[in-house]
């Protein structure tokens, strides 16, 4: 019994003891979930039916992928062209993308929003509070 309840802890292996335990629990849970799903499907007689759908019905492709794309490009350029420039461009484009049109009003709003936010953030956090900005 004593043997069973003792874990071999060696200095060189301190770092992998716990991840192994958690990994074991995760595998156990996956197996349990699979069994449960299997039983349910057998009961319902729907063993071979798959109707999983990742995206919502009629999802807004442009806005979703546009937003993801803009964020990635924004972060990519952060340290290259600096915080203020990249933030202004990013916010300007994102506001237009989310609004979904090129009306004058939209453009004016997005310019104001992007320029004021970026500069205010830089002024307060970057300049006054001396936080390290990109």
């Amino acid at each position: 019994m004593k043997e069973l309840l003792t874990i071999d802890i060696k200095y060189d292996e301190y770092h992998i003891i716990f991840p192994r335990i958690i990994m074991g629990i995760l595998i156990l849970l996956v197996v349990l979930m699979l069994i449960k799903a299997l039983i349910k499907r057998l009961k319902d007689g729907s063993l071979t039916q798959f109707k999983f759908k990742f995206f919502e019905e009629n999802f807004d492709k442009l806005k979703l992928f546009g937003t993801i794309g803009l964020i990635v490009v924004y972060v990519f350029f952060l340290e290259i062209i600096g915080f203020i420039a990249s933030s202004i461009v990013f916010m300007f484009l994102l506001t237009i993308l989310l609004k979904g049109n090129f009306q004058r009003k939209t453009i004016v709003i997005s310019v104001i929003n992007s320029v004021t936010t970026s500069i205010l953030v830089w002024f307060f956090f970057g300049y006054l509070f001396d936080i390290t900005l990109p």
Partner: protein, 355 residues
């Protein structure tokens, strides 16, 4: 009513800004006092420190030296507590104009020797900047009621009680491991395996983890620092948490404290007294701009002369200790090579952590 509150809020915001603005203006106007010879071209220097804590000795030393140095260099220095690995990583990628430099202590090379940091962070791959401070208070402590009062007595006690062991709380790869190894090698050379095999290590992290390990009864001796542990040794502290100093590794006794040094206790390694104190220095990118490096060096030389700087260090039991840029690389390399013997002959953590 509403308007009044809005007004108050705005007023307060204004006051905050004024306060912050004031402090930064103050800094720049102070700087005008210094002559132009040490003025650097960049407006902002990021000082990365090898600790992620703003409550530790590295931060305090970095804060003190940069506060005076930024006036000499007429620039802004910002201490960023990013942690050792990240600091090295950033330093390796840093521009050579001096906009990012590092400030750390002996762990920067000990960590490499012990294998905690990769070889690429070795001292040989940086330009070592000036050394500006020393912390002589590298100590070991036990609970106040332990049956020994010095490190030598602890070893004697082990010899007299063959069924007992002593566990020491240390942090792997740093100053505490080298100090422990010094004691361990001495005990092995003096008393043989019979005693040294009963000296165990408990590997943990921060100072408060070590303190807690002592109170939990998981260890008998901890590594510590005078400045952070003296509070637990004073009269009036509850018995449950009271500690006592067993020895300090500095060359001479630290003024104001009655703690025997390792040297006077007779703890020797390889025929030499075991002496170790933590020193604080700048690390610069290998191909740093010569102009910046020499200004930093001259600036540091002025700062160490400043009595206010010494006073600031003194409140936390640190002392001024200066090696110029020219001397520091050779000095530290020599210190490292002495430590190498200890590291090579030190205890294998796998063996001494096993119960």
């Amino acid at each position: 009513m509403k308007k009044i509150w809005v007004f108050v809020l705005i007023l307060m915001l204004g006051a905050v800004l004024a306060a912050c603005g004031g402090s930064s203006e103050e800094a720049s106007s102070d700087a005008e006092g210094s002559d132009d010879t040490t003025k650097v071209d960049i407006s902002r220097v990021r000082v990365l420190i090898g600790s992620s804590s703003t409550g530790g000795d590295t931060y305090q030393n970095a804060d003190a030296v940069t506060r005076y140095l930024e006036k000499e260099l007429d620039t802004n220095m910002k201490v960023d507590a990013v942690g050792a690995n990240r600091a090295f990583d950033e330093l390796a990628k840093a521009k050579t104009d001096g906009s990012s430099i590092m400030f750390f202590h002996d762990m920067s090379y000990l960590g490499v020797e012990y294998g905690s940091f990769p070889e690429e962070y070795s001292l040989d791959n940086w330009k070592v900047g000036p050394i500006v401070a020393i912390n002589p208070g590298n100590v070991f402590l036990s609970k106040a009621d332990a049956p020994y009062n010095t490190m030598v007595e602890a070893a004697e006690w082990l010899k007299a009680n063959p069924d007992k062991t002593i566990t020491v709380a240390i942090e792997a790869g740093g100053v505490s491991q080298i100090s422990f190894d010094g004691f361990y090698i001495w005990a092995k050379e003096t008393y043989g395996e019979e005693v040294s095999s009963r000296i165990k290590a408990y590997i943990t992290g921060s100072q408060s983890d070590k303190d807690q390990a002592l109170w939990d009864g998981n260890v008998d001796i901890i590594h510590g620092a005078i400045s952070s542990n003296v509070q637990y040794t004073e009269d009036g502290v509850e018995d449950k948490i009271k500690m006592k100093f067993l020895g300090v590794t500095s060359k001479e006794r630290v003024e104001g404290y009655d703690i025997p040094t390792f040297a006077e206790q007779g703890i020797q390694v390889n025929g030499q007294d075991f002496v170790f104190a933590k020193e604080y220095f700048f690390l610069l990118p290998k191909d740093i701009d010569e102009n910046f490096a020499s200004k930093l060096d001259q600036g540091a030389a002025k700062v160490v002369e400043n009595a206010d700087y010494a006073k600031d260090l003194g409140v936390n039991a640190f002392y001024v200790n200066h090696y110029s840029l020219e001397e520091s690389q050779a000095y530290l390399t020599e210190k490292r090579d002495f430590m190498r013997y200890i590291i090579e002959n030190g205890a294998d953590l796998n063996e001494i952590t096993a119960n």
